[in-house]
Symmetry: C2
Subunit: 337 residues, 2 copies
Amino acid sequence: MFAASHRRLNRLTGEWVLVSPHRTARPWQGQVEEVAADQRPAYDPACYLCPGNGRAGGARTPEYDSTYVFDNDFAALTPDVAPEEDDRKGLLIAQSERGICRVVCFSPRHDLTLGQMPAEAIRTVVDTWVDQYLELGSLDWVRHVQIFENRGAMMGASNPHPHGQIWANERLPNEPAKELAQQRARADSGGCLLCDYLDVELDDGERIVTGNEHFTALVPFWAVWPFETLVLPRAHAGALPDLGPDQRNGLADILRRLTRRYDRLFGVTFPYSMGLHQRPTDGDPHRGWHLHAHFYPPLLRSATVRKFMVGYELLGQPQRDITPETAAQRLRELPED
Amino acid sequence: MFAASHRRLNRLTGEWVLVSPHRTARPWQGQVEEVAADQRPAYDPACYLCPGNGRAGGARTPEYDSTYVFDNDFAALTPDVAPEEDDRKGLLIAQSERGICRVVCFSPRHDLTLGQMPAEAIRTVVDTWVDQYLELGSLDWVRHVQIFENRGAMMGASNPHPHGQIWANERLPNEPAKELAQQRARADSGGCLLCDYLDVELDDGERIVTGNEHFTALVPFWAVWPFETLVLPRAHAGALPDLGPDQRNGLADILRRLTRRYDRLFGVTFPYSMGLHQRPTDGDPHRGWHLHAHFYPPLLRSATVRKFMVGYELLGQPQRDITPETAAQRLRELPED
Ligand SMILES: O=P(O)(O)O[C@H]1O[C@H](CO)[C@@H](O)[C@H](O)[C@H]1O
Ligand SMILES: O=P(O)(O)O[C@H]1O[C@H](CO)[C@@H](O)[C@H](O)[C@H]1O
């Protein structure tokens, strides 16, 4: 592989990432993050996601004992929006956008993370995601269901209780729209982009992190974040409901394996944003769409030194120092239990 | 304007941003940033950008008295890269990428910021940018010159000494490539996208922040960051060298006006990434390209509460709470001297 600066094509989005393998020696004198004290009680009376506690607007979180889903009290998207369009001279273009934002508590236990939960409990989270995708996706105006988790204060999580979010949209957002275009183009010439990609990666081996019978986790060839990973089902599937019981266990298992590796890397609960990209729910079969999960973790060198996506990255294109191959190797060397 | 959730089209990139005007009431319990103690000495013996001090690798910063430009000691891009291409099954695609990374010290004074410098000194920075764009852009293999500044630890700046960077590339990065496509499409039908856009904005007035005879600063209709702004020359120009002496003074003046407003907003040196988008230097005249500067500041509500571009933003599309109109109004109400 290229020893000097090069760019790699993200085959899923069609955009480029700049790789600078020689730049890892750069000293860091910039911002140093705080390491969050990770001693949390199993129940926090001040946490609105803990069972039995009050929430904003007077609601109360019930005494749940596995997962618990509710509409976000401060939803960015709401379903009751009157249709409206604006187009001033083809320059100021806006459209009303309906949506539903939900919160998914992964566990009643305030002190756990996804990876620390027993495999069966993670499987329950997977089943909850399946139900939510089906329920929200079946609304005739919902065309995309984004399931995600922001973990850690560094990733904007406003509460450490293990939870994720779901934002369902009237229209396909930018990122899945790019992925759809690339996957569709490959499907039109008779193949599945991510099935084919996974074959090449399994064959090569260099970027594989971990796996089981049903799922593989790897650092994609075009990874932007230092320890970014992509989780792929080995058999073609477009969305969570396509997975049988064994595959759902396989997904729970790989989430556990991967997040445990992450937590070992720098000895802290690894911050990340993760999310599932599933087939759009607009009614089209989207046969070329391959279900996958992205993990975008910001840490670069230690628990306190992160990668900043700033100046050049915002104005030009993403840039990374450590190569995807090195990142995969480091993650591969860690234990996962 | 839409009182409920809607999306707006970024006419420069062709991508969408989600706007949630109703969401400003959301309480914040998440990460709180530190306010950097802003008492810096005029000269810091430990700062490698201060005149006369040693740098990494044994180089020494000279006794400069206005601006000072040098090749980045830890350049992400280097010019001496052997051409190489890789394409495995149309899936793993990489290309070597040559480039040059420079650092531009704005002033020998460690304790100043761009906006605190006298107008003539900012003009000298503008002239330095002109020279650099011409010099780097004239290399036959350089097709894009990205001038930018990361200001503040929150934006990954590793040194508070007033400075910016320049990364010159062999190929057009993602963001200018998107902007080129949109500007070219408009030019093909006989117009300049940003000339036309500026007319609509001046006419409307709602999003204008400040201006002078030659430049206007406004919050774009499609702003992603809470207090994002776009700086536009009022007469068509594709790159800095197209500007005459009065216009260059005009640019220095508007940078001063705008950054001083920013610093007043929350009473701190406002963190941001800013950069100039100029005509690509591939030899094509690019008549539809309109010179502009983007300011991307992360702060949302106060000196310590920022907007996080995480989960939904990374996996779906950017989302904002405060509207561009409200942001413009708040910036407009501030003094600029
Ligand atoms: O070169 P610097 O200032 O040390 O580094 C900063 O700016 C670069 C260009 O935007 C980024 O790639 C780095 O992540 C950031 O820390
Ligand atoms: O809804 P939360 O967790 O309070 O908010 C967090 O996630 C959202 C979705 O990615 C982002 O828009 C916010 O910027 C972030 O702070």
